[in-house]
């Protein structure tokens, strides 16, 4: 049988063809609804930023854009404003709270999931969720009245034994230890423990049983399983949970305003009385502010808004990166 010569036309390089996409009416309506919801949320974020920016202009003009972010003063009578110290204070308080909260939250999450008996697990889970929903003023009052005294003791101990670490030093030997960034940070930590616990607990509970059993069947201890299987599995989610907590700590207002001895200058002595944050500035100054001071407070709010936005974007980037690595 004679072979026909191959048809050159047929051997031409193929290109992807069009695929007909028919969209049903229901789909179209639903898509429109979803798209409008997305548009609304974008509008809210954009609108907030725009509103803050416009209202902030007078104060920023008076104080000077650069000096607003590089000095630490708050003098409404002459229109001199600068929030550097408060930005630093915000980060100090949020960092203290993370250092206290993260080990507590992850330990609690692991205890609930891995070690506690079923009945206690249910009780703990619902109390954590309850705490997450607790208004922050409650924590603030509790911190003010009940926690200060014991925490002052802790602060004195830290200063006595760990003053090799710069953070635990005092400006002078008998500096007052009440109403410090350390105490505020610890109270804020208690407020963010629930959210970090509940998110990381959920994430680690997703770990396939077969993975955990594989680890135990190899002769692994509980801790070995946690270290080699659960934590690597939950890494991205836990990072997200921690940053979520950090975001909350940055914005926490009432508890900070209630407890801290407010100063606009940054106070590097974490254990010592005095400190501040942007959110507490707004809460403390707003009731009596007028004209230019209101504009300055809004400018400070804008600074907090951008900081929180960056933390969240950073959180996302980190979560995405760890997800790819896993």
């Amino acid at each position: 049988m004679a072979l026909t010569t191959p048809d050159l036309q047929a051997l031409e390089e193929q290109v992807p063809r069009d695929i007909a996409r028919t969209v049903t009416r229901g789909d179209r309506i639903f898509r429109t609804l979803c798209a409008s919801a997305a548009a609304v949320s974008l509008f809210i974020i954009g609108g907030t930023a725009l509103f803050l920016a416009i209202k902030a202009v007078p104060a920023l003009q008076k104080a000077g854009l650069v000096s607003f972010f590089t000095t630490s003063v708050w003098n409404p009578t002459v229109g001199d404003f600068g929030v550097l110290g408060l930005l630093i204070g915000t980060i100090i308080i949020a960092t203290v709270s993370l250092i206290v909260a993260v080990p507590l939250a992850i330990g609690l999450a692991l205890f609930i999931n891995e070690y506690s008996p079923a009945r206690i697990r249910r009780i703990l889970t619902s109390s954590v969720d309850l705490l997450a929903a607790m208004p922050s003023i409650i924590f603030g009052m509790w911190g003010f009245f009940a926690l200060q005294a014991p925490l002052v003791g802790v602060a004195a101990w830290l200063n006595l034994h760990l003053s090799a670490i710069p953070f635990f030093r005092l400006s002078e030997a008998d500096a007052p230890l009440l109403r410090s960034s350390f105490i505020v940070g610890t109270v804020v930590a208690l407020m963010i423990v629930p959210i970090i616990t509940s998110v990381s607990r959920d994430v680690m509970a997703q770990c396939p049983r077969s993975q955990c059993e594989a680890a135990l069947a190899l002769g692994g201890s509980r801790w070995g399983m946690i270290k080699e299987v659960l934590l690597p599995f939950g890494k991205a989610g836990i990072t997200g949970a921690v940053l979520l907590g950090f975001g909350r700590a940055l914005g926490e207002t009432i508890a900070v305003a209630l407890i801290i001895a407010f100063t606009v200058q940054a106070n590097p002595y974490v254990l010592e009385q005095g400190g501040g944050s942007i959110a507490s500035l707004i809460a403390i100054k707003f009731p009596e502010a007028q004209d230019l001071e209101i504009s300055a407070l809004i400018a400070a709010g804008l600074a907090l808004f951008s900081m929180t936005l960056f933390v969240n974007l950073g959180a996302r980037a980190i979560v995405r990166r760890t997800q790819i690595a896993a």
């Binding site: 079923a118 077969s210 059993e213 594989a214 135990l216 201890s221 299987v229 896993a326």
Partner: protein, 287 residues
């Protein structure tokens, strides 16, 4: 039956971290062990799923557990290395002795039991975040052991699991990049790395194609010279091909616990069973 068995709580005794000297992990595996299960009864909550099962698993032999679905083969297998107690409501009665030592007694911790009695699961479950080599070594890190020449151990275990030739040039790739059959052999290699005396396998080939199945069966035959193997299988031909001893489990009527109907040399169980129910099952005339 008048005697009442009381469930013993399979409490996790304190997990002693073993420090295994490198001699124990040296090239030559130590002689294999025997397991003697006596009157094993298992509960999930109030429900008794297995009653008075006694079976001896001889050193260096392959024991196959067969029987219809739900008759308690997996439960029995998991009771042999204290995986049963991981289910919160689980309870067990009877004794299981590894070379004469009761594995549920104070004399052994669960971690020690599990590193001496390894397990391969029905679904391949390599650790997804680890490379092939790290998967093999995972058991060492998990149980706090160390090995002076990890590279050599990886090669040795992969060779014994019949996987070395296929992966020797890609040890750093993720464990999930392998095919299902290769993943299962990786899991076997991982179990071998902690030098178990016994290897339990729960339907290790049920998710695999005939060729991968053959490779694993061959691996089992090679391993059984050094390690005691207990395998659950639904495949009658496989039980005949790989096992020396065979135990037939059965739930007689719905709601009853599973029992061992017959156990003995594989050839006898398949060719000349003493119980008519065994005959029906192995000849495929069941139900």
């Amino acid at each position: 039956m008048t005697t009442v068995e009381s469930p013993r709580t399979a409490a996790d005794t304190a997990t002693n971290r073993q420090v295994v000297s490198s001699e124990l992990l040296a090239e030559e595996p130590h002689g294999s062990s025997r397991i003697d299960a006596t009157d094993v009864t298992c509960w999930f909550g109030k429900r008794k799923v297995l009653e008075r099962c006694s079976l001896s698993m001889e050193p260096g032999k392959v024991t196959a557990l067969i029987g219809p679905s739900g008759c308690g083969k997996s439960t029995f297998l998991r009771s042999l290395n204290r995986m049963h107690e991981l289910v919160p409501v689980a309870a067990i009665a009877g004794t299981i002795e590894l070379d004469g030592v009761d594995i549920y007694s104070e004399e052994m911790s669960p971690t020690e039991v599990r590193s001496r009695i390894g397990m391969v699961f029905q679904k391949p479950n390599p650790f997804p975040a680890m490379s092939i080599a790290d998967n093999v070594l995972a058991g060492l890190g998990l149980s706090g052991m160390s090995h002076e020449d990890p590279k050599a151990l990886v090669e040795q275990c992969l060779r014994r699991a019949g996987l070395w030739a296929e992966v020797s040039d890609r040890l750093d790739e993720g464990g999930m990049s392998l095919s299902g059959g290769q993943q299962q052999r990786l899991c076997i290699a991982r179990a071998l790395a902690v030098h178990p005396d016994v290897l339990l396998m729960d339907e290790p080939c049920s998710a695999l194609d005939p060729i991968s199945t053959r490779v694993i069966e061959q691996t089992i035959r090679e391993l059984c010279e050094e390690i005691t193997i207990v395998i659950v299988t639904h495949n009658m031909q496989q039980a005949q091909r790989v096992s020396d001893t065979c135990a037939f489990f059965l739930v007689e009527s719905i709601g009853d616990p599973g029992r061992i109907v017959e156990a003995g040399p594989t050839a006898q169980v398949f060719e000349n069973p003493s119980d008519p129910r065994t005959y029906d099952y192995v000849t495929g005339q069941f139900g």
